[in-house]
Amino acid sequence: MKKIGGVVLDVKNISLAFGGVKALTDISFDVREHEIRAIIGPNGAGKSSMLNCINGVYQPQQGSVTLRGKTYRGMSPRQVAEMGVARTFQNLALFKGMSVLDNIMTGRNLRMRRGLFWQALHLGPARREETEQRAHAERIIDFLEIQAHRKTPVGRLPYGLQKRVDLGRALAMEPSLLLLDEPMAGMNVEEKQDMCRFILDVNDEFGTTIVLIEHDMGVVMDISDRVVVLDYGRKIGDGAPDEVRSSEDVVRAYLGVSQ
């Protein structure tokens, strides 16, 4: 059985607003090493905004995010990425013009340093670097079982596989913290099962800590260790799946809606 470690990510009193429209109000929660932490809530509950605050796409007006003891506000996505945070996107944000392999290779960009000159020559160091990183990307392709589509332009893949590539691109960064924004949205049962398998595998093969937004309650309850429930930008529940399931607020706000 896997062991949950200490707190790696601590979100304190985050508030975010877009020109007067409050997206998040005073949200706090923490994520522990090696756990799968789910964020659930009805549409427009501010789940995605929460992730965007964590990885620096949005700058919250109040509150702080502490990652591995380093507290930051107004950090750029790049800096957050350098701290080992990767994410996938709710409505696919793949690089449409590129092949599956190239999409995953972009995940290695952080590690590729050779400058214009060597690149232009495509010799020596540049070539060596390219090969090393390719080897790593290939391991991920193998891990996600998309060998057959390696050279296909992502645009041509069925939705389910695109989601996989999105995950692959994030994994290519070898993140210590992985943010998944509705990884199973719009998938059929079979695809969902696969995705669950991959998420769990990532969690214990690479020991990656995972924060996961998901709509499908069933899935959340199955795979997550602890759950945060948001509703209209406020936190209305936090705890182990079955605790959360039993809390009335949650039932009213969330399950009530879905049933």
Binding site: N55, V57, S76, P77, R78, A81, E82, A86, R87, F89, A93, L94, F95, K96, G97, M98, D102, M105, T106, G107, R108, N109, L110, M112, R114, L116, Q119, A120, L121, H122, A126, R127, E129, E130, T131, Q133, R134, A135, R169, A170, M173
Partner: protein, 354 residues
Amino acid sequence: MFYRENGQFKTSYAADSQILPIRQDRIGMALLLGVAFVVVPLLSSEYLLRAILIPFLILSLAALGLNVLVGYCGQISLGSGAFMAVGAYVAYNCQARVEGMPLIVALLAGGLGATVLGVAFGLPSLRIKGLYLAVATLAAQFFVDWACLRLKWVTNDSTSGSVGIAHLDVAGFSVESPAARYLLCLGFVVVFALATKNLVRGHIGRSWMAMRDMDVAAAVIGIRPMQAKLSAFAVSSFIIGVAGALWGFVHLGSWEPAAFGINRSFDLLFMVIIGGLGSISGAFFGAAFIVVLPLVLDKLPYWTGLPMDTATASHLALMIFGALIVFFLIKEPHGLARLWATAKEKLRLWPFPH
């Protein structure tokens, strides 16, 4: 149909990621280069070289540069004419002011000059997006037009404002003959095309395309928007600058600022659109198209027997360009290059349709 790929398996990443992984393609490319370097100079007439092939090559080079910015990095630019101008004038000043400055060095210096301007006008792209940026690049165009016209030292105080190149030689060999000029241009084009290809298949190229396709996602996976965009601006304007220098030195010989006006910028943009955004071959297709179409229209009355004065012909050309732009944007946003690629794909799968 002509592909026989069985047995062409790759045992290393180097082999797998080479530019032309299929043997038949490599053979084709070798033949093409052979013809370009040997057969053409030997057989083609002076008119063909001067009026068609040399402009074609130089414009291809410029389009190649613009494609890096527009096609690969998704940053629209309406100022490429200016970058060509800077290339040309910087190169000119190097020659005119520095004794015995070698031609190649002067041309490359032209490129560097353009790079400086390119980066300067690229800086806004960090804050400004899309349409706004397009207008910012127009600023470059107008400013440079003006500078070339009004600032005397730019034209080395030539009274008429027009400048000229006395004679060209590379390492003692004169490049006066059309064939020699052609080969010089061809050399540049081949080298830059290869270098660009290498860039776009490496991580820098991927960061450009990432910015183009989905800039937020790109930032999230750790790509620095500034680095990506500025490098694209730099590379792009360098190539365009060199092309500009070649245009002035090798094609025109002597020129006025008008040679690099805003219409040049538009032409280049059209080459890239018609040829194919985000592809190396696209630049060549586009350039070929822009160079050949007017000639065809000139010949049209002669062939068909219909009377058509030159004015009508040029208006017709305008309309056809316009129509084609719209057509391509609607039907095939990736231009001729994509059509070519699809055709190749069909040949590979033949007799199967897909």
